[in-house]
Amino acid sequence: MAELLRALLALCCLALLAVPACAAPLDRTRFAADLCGDGAAQVRAAEGLVQVGGDLPADDLTFAGGLLGALAERRLSCPADGTLLLDRPGAPEGHDALTGAVRPAPKARAPVLGLRQRAAVETARGIIALLTGPDPAARSAGLAVVERRIATVPAAVLDRARDTETDAALKATITGLAQAAALSSPDPARRRAAIAAVAASPSGTAQARLAALKGDPAYASDPAFRAALDAGLAQVSRAVAIGDGLAVVYNGLSFASILFMAAAGLAIIFGLMGVINLAQGEFIMLGAYATYGVQEAFRRFAPGLLDFYLVAAIPVAFGAVALVGIVVETLILRHLYRRPLMSLLATWAVSLFLVNLVRVTVGTQNLQFVMPAYVSGGVPLYADFVVTWNRLFAIAFAVATLVVTLLILRRTPLGLDIRAVTQNRDMAACLGLPTRRIDRLAFGLGSGLAGLAGVALCPIYSVNPGMGSGFIVDSFMVVVLGGVGSLVGTLVAALGVGGANVLIEPISGAVAAKVIVLVGIILFLQRRPEGLFAVRRRR
């Protein structure tokens, strides 16, 4: 009797396992109540949904998606008598989760998601988006989430997604992912296919997943498996190494572009007039504040175009800071050309003044910037190498600045004048060049370049009155190392310093990297004071 009972029970279980399609539809009341429950209940609801998600009808998924979205965005209100979805956090009325009826929202609890809960909710929303997303973009966003948590997602979900997917490219991706998910499948052929699939999209995580399989009994017993795994691992390791190499290059380029932007204006000012402009960092800061001003103007007058404020800020920041530079030159520096060390003190005073002026008038807090899509986030390019848009923006900006500045210096009358004055001031004056006017314009150009650096830095660094002070030593080192008066030298020096920093940092830490690079420059300059690119001149 007991035997029979046990057999029956086992049969039932088997049936339950084998035919999940007959699982009950979502218990909406319980699901809603769980989302309003404690952390454990929330996890239960979200993970339960993930487990059965492959078999739930579409309207259940949509319903759950709405609730989960509201929970993640804190629009879920939990009064004593049910669950409400609000239009926005703290709205006075909301839709009842079950009936959809609109009713006033009493003061009630809006659950805060813990990290576990948030992860579970994210996964659940991911599979819902993958299965029911209205367009390929939404479904592919869902797929991205699912991919990250592939270990917690049952195969049924991927199978269903693959079967129902209409977009060919997306379908192929899902198929690959489903294959890769079968790493621990009992079927050796599927396993090998899974290894190949994992190896096809290499990353540090993939490497770790494959490496873990080396401890698998099959590795020792099954030569085919062993060969597949070794090949897959080698492929992933190579790809990860290349990706890391690309990341180093990219990091170096990005740091170099920042250094170059900060130093380019200085190179012109120092090269032309021998003036050590200690206010250059503050000019960068002013450029960033000008960008902020443009953003606020857009917000007020053209909110629809707000995303383009960074582009519009380029001429504004250049012009505004160039104007400040010209004013400083006219009022102060032109009296000091024969006394470079005094102009150093004067620009220090100007920097002190500017920092405190901004501090008193605008405040010390970090400025709030809207980050349009083209400067926020990033895209994984190869293995673990992620291209971040803000850094790419800075690199592109630096390249554009370099090209335009070189064009100005090489192809325009002003550029010719500037080069003439840089090379031999007295001779240029004898030839009738208006050196006074050229000085002023060149100083304006150098300051304007600092303003541009301010624009480029907005998406990368925090903008506050003190932001400029950190640049001064680095950018002077870059200018002097490159050779005074040589913009190309400045570029090469920036690349060298940026690259060296990025290479040394993983080995000896960020502090030591900075110290080593600076000491190296000091030693180099003591052997070769004229820098890398300066032409040897008659003393």
Binding site: G114, L115, R116, R118, Y250, F255, R359, N366, V511
Partner: protein
């Protein structure tokens, strides 16, 4: 020429003596409190707020009739984020202004700089910041929590089932004693729990460091190693915090992949960030703006009104822990002075034992005769979309402070 030099000397002497002349001598019915918070230099954005909070607290007490029948007069200064200047001004305030207590310092080094001054002059310094602990001077009131009573509960939470079950730890800090002490204590704590040394990594960056690309790459590759859920324990300070968060989000790592526990992260650090991609990262303080309760609502309303009325150059709707701690400091001092019936430091110090104050966080602060530390609650906050923190967890009560960590 000697006449001229004499004149210039007289001028210099007059300058030195001038502080005594430019201020009206204290009226008999006031008592002075001194502030040592910078309104310029690197610390301005953080410390600057505290000057105003101290004033606000003193105004409120004055509105209730003052302390021991005297009105409070707040003396402010600007040590300009220049550490020796804190000591210099502190000395001047104690000796010349005869302030009854000092409220000041944010960084450990500024406190260390003022410490000998208050000890030599037997003054009283209320220090509103959390810090590395391992110090107990009878002349300093440590209003905020040492790590053993605030950081360890938070890390415990993250390691537990309610948190993320954290198994591996990437510690990134600014290179100075507070981050290093915290990390040292954490390592001791983990060792005591049997966690192997391979489960953590430690990196330090210079002050004001902002180029976090390489470090974030390292975090990512650390996270992809097997061994369990990783978290980042972030003890960088100042502008490094937003710069790190920005790079972290831009490289596409979310809080559900690798959560950051930012131990020095406050609302002010999120100013200027798009926090949509940072939702879920954590911080840990003795007060969060989102704390529930009438007292907090009143405090927030008071601050907003004060900012408006006095044209204070800081945000009316951002309140951070050290502001509340500074507010608590003034009130604790006033309670102690009233209990002692005197402004003399030894009397006030004696009155600390058994003092309690219901502060905006919702907890009741208490002090014992054992040390100059204050019992505070512990909040764990979670970054939300609105550049603030939601309360994720808070301690059931205010744990007794542990000045000297057992894990150091």
């Amino acid at each position: 020429m000697t006449v001229l030099t004499r004149r210039s000397f007289v001028g210099t002497a007059a300058l030195l003596a001038a502080p005594a002349l430019i201020r009206p001598a204290a009226a008999a019915d006031t008592v002075k409190l001194g502030c040592l918070f910078s309104s310029s230099g690197t610390m301005a954005n953080l410390e600057g707020r505290l000057n105003h909070v101290v004033r606000m607290a003193a105004d409120a007490i004055n509105g209730r009739g003052g302390v021991n029948g005297r009105q409070i007069e707040v003396v402010t200064s600007d040590p300009a984020s220049d550490w020796p200047l804190y000591a210099q001004i502190g000395r001047q305030m104690l000796q010349q202004e005869k302030v009854a207590a000092l409220f000041g310092c944010w960084t450990s080094v500024s406190r260390k700089s003022v410490l000998p001054v208050v000890e030599q002059n037997d003054g009283l310094l209320f220090y509103p910041l959390h810090f590395e602990g391992d110090e107990n001077s009878k002349n300093v009131v440590y209003v905020n929590s040492p790590p053993a009573s605030s950081v360890l509960p938070a890390v415990d939470y993250l390691m537990g089932p309610d948190g993320v079950g954290a198994k591996r730890f990437f510690m990134i800090g600014s290179d100075y004693v507070w981050p290093r002490t915290i990390n040292k204590q954490l390592k001791g704590y983990w060792t005591s729990k049997g966690i192997p040394e391979t489960a953590w990594r430690e990196e330090y960056v210079p002050f004001g460091f902002s180029n976090f690309q390489t470090l974030v790459n390292q975090v990512r590759s650390f996270a992809s190693q097997p061994g369990g859920q990783p978290i980042v324990v972030l003890t960088v300070v100042g502008s490094s915090i937003p710069d790190f968060l920005r790079e972290f989000a831009n490289q596409g790592i979310s809080a559900t992949d690798v959560p950051i526990l930012g131990l020095d992260m406050v609302e002010a650090d999120l100013e200027g960030l798009d926090t949509g991609k940072l939702v879920g990262h954590l911080n840990c303080w003795a007060y969060l703006q989102a704390a529930k309760g009438e007292r907090n609502q009143k405090f927030l309303a008071d601050w907003a009104a004060y900012v408006k009325a006095k044209n204070v150059p800081f945000s009316a709707d951002t309140v951070i822990d050290p502001m509340v701690s500074a507010y608590d400091s003034v009130n604790l001092w006033a309670l102690a002075a009233a209990k002692a019936g005197s402004f003399a430091v030894p009397e006030v110090r004696k009155a600390f034992a058994g003092l309690s104050f219901d502060d905006p966080s919702g907890y009741t602060l208490t002090m014992t005769g054992e040390n100059n530390y204050v019992s505070r609650g512990v909040f764990i906050g979670s970054v939300n979309e609105k550049r603030g923190f939601d309360v994720l967890w808070q301690s059931p009560n205010a744990p007794a402070p542990v000045p000297f960590s057992p894990y150091g």
